[in-house]
Amino acid sequence: MSGVRVLVGTRKGAFILTADGKRDRWDVSGPHFAGWEIYHMKGSPVNPDRIFASQTSGWFGQIIQRSDDGGKNWIQPGTKPGEPTTTPEGMPMGESNKFVYDTSPETGKPLTTHQFYDGTAHPWEFKRVWHLEPSLTDPNTVYAGVEDAALFSTQDGGQTWHELAGLRGHGTGPHWQPGAGGMCLHTIILDPSDPKRIYIAISAAGAFRTDDGGDTWKPINHGLFSQYIPDPTAEVGHCVHHVAMNPSRPGVLFMQKHWDVMRSDDAGDNWREVSGNLPTDFGFVIDVHAHEPETIYVVPIKSDSEHYVHDAKLRVYRSRTGGNEWEALTKGLPQSNCYLNVLRDAMSVDSLDPCGIYFGTSGGQVYASADAGDNWAPIVRDLPPVLSVEAQVLK
């Protein structure tokens, strides 16, 4: 029988939740990497037992961890190509922690500045990995979205990382500025129908697309309207919070922006608003039903300063029409005195039938629905604040 594994990154460690296909009784393991911020964990679609984790800390910097047994044991995979993967005494090497912007003449782009919060020019500085996106076809290849915004990849299972400098250096970089959490590349979408097409999104620069495997990129923000920037329809500068795509409909994208829920039917070339009857269209997460490409989910958040749910009610909103018409999903979710936030990478779906939906909150709950959102129940209630949630199906 199939099972589900839910990978939960929190402010103080990682937790791994597992259940069989019924998804009603869960085992909880963790905290792994206790005390560290785990910004993201994600498994390889090719080998679900291979999981990568971004372990980060204001004290000690960035660590990349890898498990090859579903999260029971972890290693830091880093080493230089050609060198042994461990010291003679068996210690793992530390090169997997090294993210260096590529400024080489052969493959890199010069380091420019970007805008800082006060509009001044600020040098590009690496802080952490926000998002890991394993390749759809190769368990050794992973993409990493980092702060300050750039895209890196590994082809050796996380041992070494190299920047795809074409993004940072394509020309609009000096106009990018950070969102409140930092200038982060938080969304990476790999197109299953075209291995050279990748979508990414940056707070607060916007969405971008490559059609040549990362050498060249173009902003894809036409149709976005952001009233708080000097030119509300500028080519870049929009605070995109998250983008989602159903793999069966490559090119149909859904976006949760800093205000507005948007949709594109042409791979991001044009966007239109589909907020419709949402009580508020601010939020962070957005995701798509695994089997119904027109069914999308958001968690409306009251406002850009009040980062908690609207009306003190934790409500997931579902649209079965690809946006505009939304219904509130509340069964099993607190409907009073609730002031939780759900961060951008903290929602995920599984591909079982019925589709399972999972999300984690700032209050440390991870909620699950085994029926596409009709009913919800907490898997766990009292974790540290949740930063990310990813669901895997185990066969």
Partner: protein
């Protein structure tokens, strides 16, 4: 052998208890002690000092013989007591913040 005391989270990362001992060839300075530490425990590379610039991470400090050595030169000789192993070299993490 030079004794080094690491902060709690780095002890966990390096899978060691309490303090570690590193063999430093040549002058015993902050730089050579950290080089030897990272050679023996390469998973610590990039955690105490930035990978590229080598600068100390701001929430960490270097101490020895009850003195804060964080703002001194990486290449100044550490006290003799550290070189002989009589006193440890401490990497201390800030207790601030959640």
């Amino acid at each position: 052998m030079v004794r080094v005391v690491l902060p709690y989270h780095l002890r966990n990362l390096a899978k060691v208890d309490d303090e570690v001992q590193v063999d430093v060839k040549g002058p015993v300075t902050i730089r050579t002690v950290l080089d030897a530490l990272e050679a023996s425990y390469p998973m610590l590379r990039g955690t105490i000092r930035d990978h590229v610039t080598g600068t100390r991470r701001p929430f960490l400090r270097y101490f020895a013989c009850q003195e804060d050595l964080s703002h001194g030169s990486y290449d100044e000789a550490l006290p003799e007591a550290v070189a002989t192993g009589a006193e440890p070299f401490l990497v201390l993490g800030a207790i601030a913040g959640g």
